[in-house]
């Protein structure tokens, strides 16, 4: 390891990453971002769906050119281990025995079939920290229900509480909980377990039932039901105590791209600042909007008048002017903004551009948090499919080259 990784919080921490798709691999990536040696276990018999997903590098094909996979697995090593092959479990156990942390979002069924329960792992590595991310938990009446991010958003109340009240719940357009909520909670719990182990020598099992993890983010609405019997409904972009509070259409850009601005007024000072900035518009002088209560009562009319005003404005110029005046506002950024025009992110160096052997210079998310002295970051682009099988098998698992050849011939490694 280099000096720079040695100075990271997780330097020397070894992770056996048996996860796939989103929520698991992202947790592993954060650990890798901060210095852990993460071995991602994959197999030809059970290829991670994201390796075959979109977007793929134009003109390229195969397992190594999907950015969806690559982004979540940067900085890891890829080991191809076919768990269905005879002898595979012994290799898996050797990997786990050499690891501090085991990570998996496989279903409880597969965990049992492959012999990767916490009890199984403890037999060969008593102080292992074993993190599981079953959709519904490791036990309970719905234990074997299927689920992916797209279904988790509905089942946890997020879909019901997103969208316009008079329209159907709209969903959120992505597999939202996969990206920060579930991997982030998992990492927090793993780090706490790591701290406990450093202090006591004791490992443990971390169970992140994805449904609980996401429901925990909806606490106030759930408590409103259990305490008051109130079953909340979505309210669009409106807020109970902020008004105006919405997203308004601005002038399309020169290419006909829709432009929108978000504006959130939280107090009288901001309201006055908005009115000063919009002095030519019709709403500042309208006495119906003098207090928060009367603005809330006439919110439809107010929103229509604000939209009339923003419709002729250029979005980023308007956001700058509003923020200068002390109003919370932002352009509703799309991917083009985030990647090309958001100088703020560029100046902060959030996105990393790494040179990948098959996709060339490609964009990766930066670390989710910035540590000033040990900032972490991506040590390498995503591994090629099976790129490190030999390296991991010999260096970390201690197999000889001959043994690797035998395991390869037996279809265990590839």
């Amino acid at each position: 390891m280099t000096d720079s990784t040695n100075s990271q919080p997780l330097a020397g921490v070894r992770v056996a990453d048996f996860s796939w798709f989103g929520a698991g691999p992202i947790a592993g990536r954060t650990l890798a971002d901060f210095g852990a040696d993460v071995v991602r276990v994959e197999s030809e018999a059970r290829v991670d769906g994201l390796r075959l997903g979109q977007p793929q590098k134009p003109g390229k094909s195969g397992y190594n050119v999907c950015a969806y996979f690559n982004n979540f697995n940067a900085g890891k090593r890829s080991l191809l281990l076919n768990m269905s092959a005879e002898g595979a479990r012994e290799v898996a156990m050797r990997l786990i025995a050499s690891s501090d942390i085991f990570l998996s979002n496989l279903t409880p069924r597969v965990i049992s079939r492959w012999g990767l329960t916490y009890e199984d792992l403890c037999e060969i590595k008593p102080d292992i920290i074993a993190a599981y991310q079953p959709m519904q938990g490791l036990w309970g009446p719905h234990r074997d229900f299927l689920g992916f991010g797209a279904v988790l958003t509905p089942t946890t109340g997020i879909s019901h509480l997103s969208g316009e009240p008079e329209r159907r719940p709209v969903g959120v357009g992505t597999n939202y909980p996969d990206y920060v909520v579930n991997p982030g909670h998992t990492v927090v719990a793993i780090l706490a377990a790591l701290r406990h182990r450093r202090r006591t020598g004791q490992g443990q099992r971390v169970e992140l039932a994805q449904i609980e993890s996401v429901a925990a983010t909806m606490g106030p609405a759930l408590l409103d039901y259990t305490a008051n019997g109130v079953n909340q409904i979505r309210r669009g972009n409106r807020s109970s105590w902020q008004c105006p509070h919405g997203i308004y259409r601005c002038r399309d850009d020169a290419n006909g791209r829709e432009r929108w601005i978000a504006i959130a007024i939280s107090d009288d000072v901001q309201w006055d600042a908005l009115c000063t900035t919009a002095e030519a518009a019709s709403f500042p002088a309208d006495e119906r909007f003098g207090t928060l209560l009367s603005r809330r009562r006439h919110e439809d009319e107010l929103n229509a008048m604000i939209s009339d005003w923003t419709a002729t404005s250029e979005a980023s110029d308007l956001a700058e002017r509003l923020q200068s005046a002390g109003v919370a506002a932002s352009v509703v950024h799309d991917a083009e903004d985030m990647c090309e025009h958001e100088e703020h992110l560029a100046e902060r160096g959030f996105y990393a551009y790494l040179d990948h052997p098959e996709t060339g210079i490609s964009l990766y998310d930066g670390p989710i948090v910035k540590l000033h002295e040990t900032p972490g970051g991506l040590s390498a682009p995503a591994p090629l499919f099976g790129e490190h099988t030999f390296e991991v098998a010999t260096e970390r698992l201690g197999y000889s080259a001959d043994e690797v050849a035998e395991l390869t011939a037996a279809g265990v490694l590839s």
């Binding site: 709209v170 959120v172 992505t174 308004y248 929108w260």
Partner: protein, 410 residues
């Protein structure tokens, strides 16, 4: 916007002291309220995010208040703050200098939760949950294709901020305990939330196109939001590798006498081997249109005749990927969560009467086998722990505390 980070650490056993201005954190005034009655000690939102924490008040606008605060910091491993850029500048100007505090206390971890980061052209910008969802590229993906971008429910940008900050706090704490060196940790809500763009930014990088809002997406029968007898479900049936195939759906409808003409093998054949690329080829799509429309009509009628919970439980029993679009009541009444004993029972004091509010509180997001979450106290009342913290732990004399109280520093 900083509450959730402290909650996550509190759930893990940290002793989290909430430092409030005199009169209490203004966010104590946020709905929903116990029995719908607004007040400083009745906010369910506050109770949920602050259960397990203790509270002191201190006035950072006063010399003595700032001194007390720095004395409290000396007893801490981690400081979490979500000051606005203006507040941060003001505190530094009057002598609460973070760099100096870090220099005086080398192992200290100082976590700043910010809208746009501590540096960069927008570091001074104001933020709210809505603004962060817009600025992070998330709102543009949510919402109806014919409507405006939409905020995701539940203050999710603030949640992302809390999760980011808790990860940073734990990483820096591990590092500080291993090396003796603490540090500044910085969460930018814009950056943390932007990770939820999924593939939108990656698609731009590879293909130069921006993803658009897809809304409910009702083009392929079996995939999308469907009305049920009492609400909605999200159905994701027919994608190879994601649960049982469409023919299982037909079998189910047939068993209930509602398959109509979908028993014609052409339906199972079409949807069990459905190729999404069909939507790229107009001619193919036109040829298939009658089959798509017929299947959609029969399926919609079938789903509309059952409750969301029936469809969820019976469908999942058949390995069909169906999720209930759950309301808070559905989650509150979930047999699964009840059987897992996820909810926490807690007596919460209020100012509404002598009797505490008996709460059934949503549980923690994770379960650790050897160090399970222990939320052993309700959310604090304003300044509830003055005596214990200032006198017993920080070491202020009772006499001095009276002086500080008199001048309003606490």
């Amino acid at each position: 916007m900083g509450w959730y980070a402290g909650k996550l650490l509190s759930d893990l056993g940290a002793d989290v002291i909430k430092v409030e201005p005199p009169g209490g954190d203004p966010s104590r005034g946020r709905a929903p309220f116990w029995q719908g009655r607004a007040g400083r000690e009745t906010s369910l939102r506050f109770w949920y995010f602050n259960a397990g924490k203790r509270s002191v008040t201190v006035d950072l606008e006063q010399h003595d208040g700032r001194w007390l605060f720095t004395e409290l910091v000396k007893t801490a491993d981690i400081v979490l703050e979500s000051w606005t850029a203006a507040e941060r500048g003001h505190h530094e100007a009057v002598g609460l200098d973070v760099d100096r505090l870090l220099a005086d206390q080398p192992a200290l971890v100082w976590v700043s939760i910010t809208g746009f980061g501590l540096d960069g052209p927008k570091s001074g910008w104001q933020v709210t949950d809505l603004i962060a969802q817009a600025a992070s590229g998330i709102a543009t993906l949510a919402g109806y294709p014919d409507g405006s971008p939409m905020r995701i429910g539940g203050n999710q940008a603030y949640i992302a901020a809390g999760i980011s900050a808790a990860q940073g706090a734990m990483l820096a704490l591990l590092q500080a305990e291993a090396t003796g060196s603490g540090q500044r940790v910085e969460t930018s809500i814009q950056e943390a939330m932007s990770i939820c763009q999924e593939t939108a930014h990656l698609q731009w990088d590879f293909q130069g196109t921006s993803r658009e809002r897809i809304g409910e997406q009702h083009r392929i029968p079996g995939i999308g939001t469907y009305q049920t007898r009492d609400g909605y479900i999200y159905s994701m049936v027919g994608i190879p590798g994601f649960g049982a195939p469409w023919s299982e759906l037909i079998r189910w409808m047939e068993e209930e006498g509602q398959a109509e003409d979908l028993t014609d093998p052409k339906y199972a054949e079409t949807f069990d081997n459905f190729n999404l690329r069909i939507f790229l080829i107009e001619e193919e799509l036109a040829k298939l249109a009658p089959i798509l429309e017929r299947a959609q009509a029969v399926l919609s009628k079938f789903y509309a005749g059952k409750t969301s919970l029936e469809l969820y439980e019976q469908g999942q029993g058949r390995r069909l990927l169906i999720g209930q679009v759950a309301t808070p009541a559905d989650i509150g009444n979930s047999q699964h969560l009840a059987a897992r004993e996820w909810w926490l029972e807690l007596d919460q004091p209020t100012t509404l009467g002598a009797e505490p509010a008996h709460l059934r509180l949503p549980g923690p997001p994770y379960r650790l086998s050897e160090t399970p979450a222990a939320i052993d106290r309700p959310a604090p009342m304003i300044g509830e722990h003055h005596q214990a913290i200032w006198v017993d732990e920080v070491g202020i004399s009772a006499e001095d505390l009276i002086t500080f109280a008199g001048e309003g520093a606490i």
